[in-house]
Symmetry: C2
Subunit: 276 residues, 2 copies
């Protein structure tokens, strides 16, 4: 079991967690609440000067932790797969401009083809963009998604599969993002986190909670402590590998987005310290 | 890949699939549509003479395939766990009265305790009722549930886990129910079906489909062909083990329950032949 967190020095918050805020507000308010890292979702950059936005984050005393998200490589047509690769190339350019050292990959799945085919297209897509990522100094994190997203969001649904694809690609620029929401149920989680650690490939650690009942497949994540995920235990497994980067709060919640975001951010900090 | 189905001799439908119908209507209409097996949900038996209902099913030319459902063994208190065991004992009595050779177990999970604890309580609960089940000639099928139900419905979420718990209990009266909805995403599915087969423990095979998007975690299952599950491929893996019992159509769908149930049952038969 990890030690309780006593300060916010490792606290990163995703821009999507306070989705109603424009990124400029998020930068100001995150910093005011003592948040030290920001993971930027690409939609938050629409219409902005990306390099200037990255500088603004750093000027506020925060690190740019990662850019969310690349991926979605599988498609039924060659043109669709090429469009995905082109989109990931743009994401690499954006990450470089922003000063983000990492892109999180939601790998994708196409419901009209077998998962095994989607998995091969994911590997092919990552390998296609990898030289550009390495040249830009941007790492790529394969994020295994919960099996309830296997139809259309990711054919990579367990940490074992993420480890397998990283082994197959075998590049220091490709690792994994461990998100407790997607992986908490897996009886092999501790062993696969250890395997990640031995390969030096835990690039990111995401936290939130699983509510009972969960009322929406996408946008009903809980604040830490609102659900049943043993977050501190999983954080302990991750830290045992030597991971010492940020703990990233990534919450999609129609319920929580509907309230005052500054009060919510205060609750995020409290829950981070008490329940993570 | 399995051969296409050319008749309804192996078609079983769960009473919950046509939930709006009282079981008497279901018996008449299932038989009229050529359905040859019925899996009875316990709620459908409320207020009925159970033995007479079983006889009515057989008189209509159908087999009673199984009783749904037992399980839900984990609880935070000893009293809660005992109540679950008592409830499963009643289910065994009901199955015996109905003439059902099998009870499907939705094993349960208690969100306030670790999954590992719930898993042990599941094993303890099954072992507690096993002598009564064997004496009654009623088999018990552990049904691994999709990981999105790990919080409160089942701590057994993969076929590997179901195989493991069956190995641990090691009784010819305890096997598994393979449901494509819960398991289709699992990269180890074929290997674990083979393992089931070697142990002679595939007691039931359930089919439906996964829709994109799925709009409700519980009641948005699709008719075969409405989604992305490779049903025929999985049926092939199951049949390769020597399984030759019923293919059970189990669909929970607010959308499909809202329409005319006789027309829907006609679509079930069509989809069974064309898409399963």
């Amino acid at each position: 079991m990890a030690q309780p967190l006593t300060d916010t020095s490792k606290l990163c918050v995703h821009t999507i967690t306070t989705k109603p805020w424009p990124i400029e507000t998020a930068i100001d308010r995150f910093a005011a609440h003592g948040v030290k890292g920001m993971t930027v979702w690409r939609d938050a950059l629409a219409g902005r000067n990306i390099a200037a936005t990255g500088q603004r984050i750093r000027d506020a005393g925060m690190s740019v932790v990662s850019l969310c998200r690349g991926g979605f490589f599988p498609a039924l047509t060659e043109a669709g797969r090429q469009a995905a690769i082109d989109n990931n190339r743009r994401a690499i350019d954006e990450a470089a401009a922003l000063g983000a050292p990492l892109i999180v990959l939601v790998c994708g799945a196409a419901p009209g083809q077998p998962l095994s085919v989607s998995r091969q297209q994911i590997q092919d897509g990552i390998e296609a963009v990898l030289p550009q990522a390495a040249a830009a100094g941007v790492k790529l994190a394969v994020e295994p998604l919960h099996p309830m997203y296997a139809d259309s969001r990711s054919a990579i649904n367990t940490l074992e599969q993420a480890n397998d694809i990283c082994d197959a690609i075998n590049s220091p620029w490709v690792g994994v993002a461990v998100d407790v929401y997607h992986l908490w149920w897996d009886p092999h989680l501790q062993a696969q986190i250890r395997r990640c650690g031995e390969a030096g490939r835990i690039f990111a650690f995401h936290i939130c909670d699983w509510r009972t009942p969960t009322e929406d497949l996408l946008n009903d994540r809980g604040l830490m402590g609102e659900g049943c995920i043993p977050i501190r235990q999983i954080r302990g497994w991750v830290e045992e590998t030597g991971f010492d980067s940020f703990n990233e709060v990534e919450i999609f919640s129609t319920r929580l987005w509907a309230g005052d975001q500054d009060a919510f951010l205060g609750r995020v900090v409290e829950a981070y310290l008490a329940k993570s």
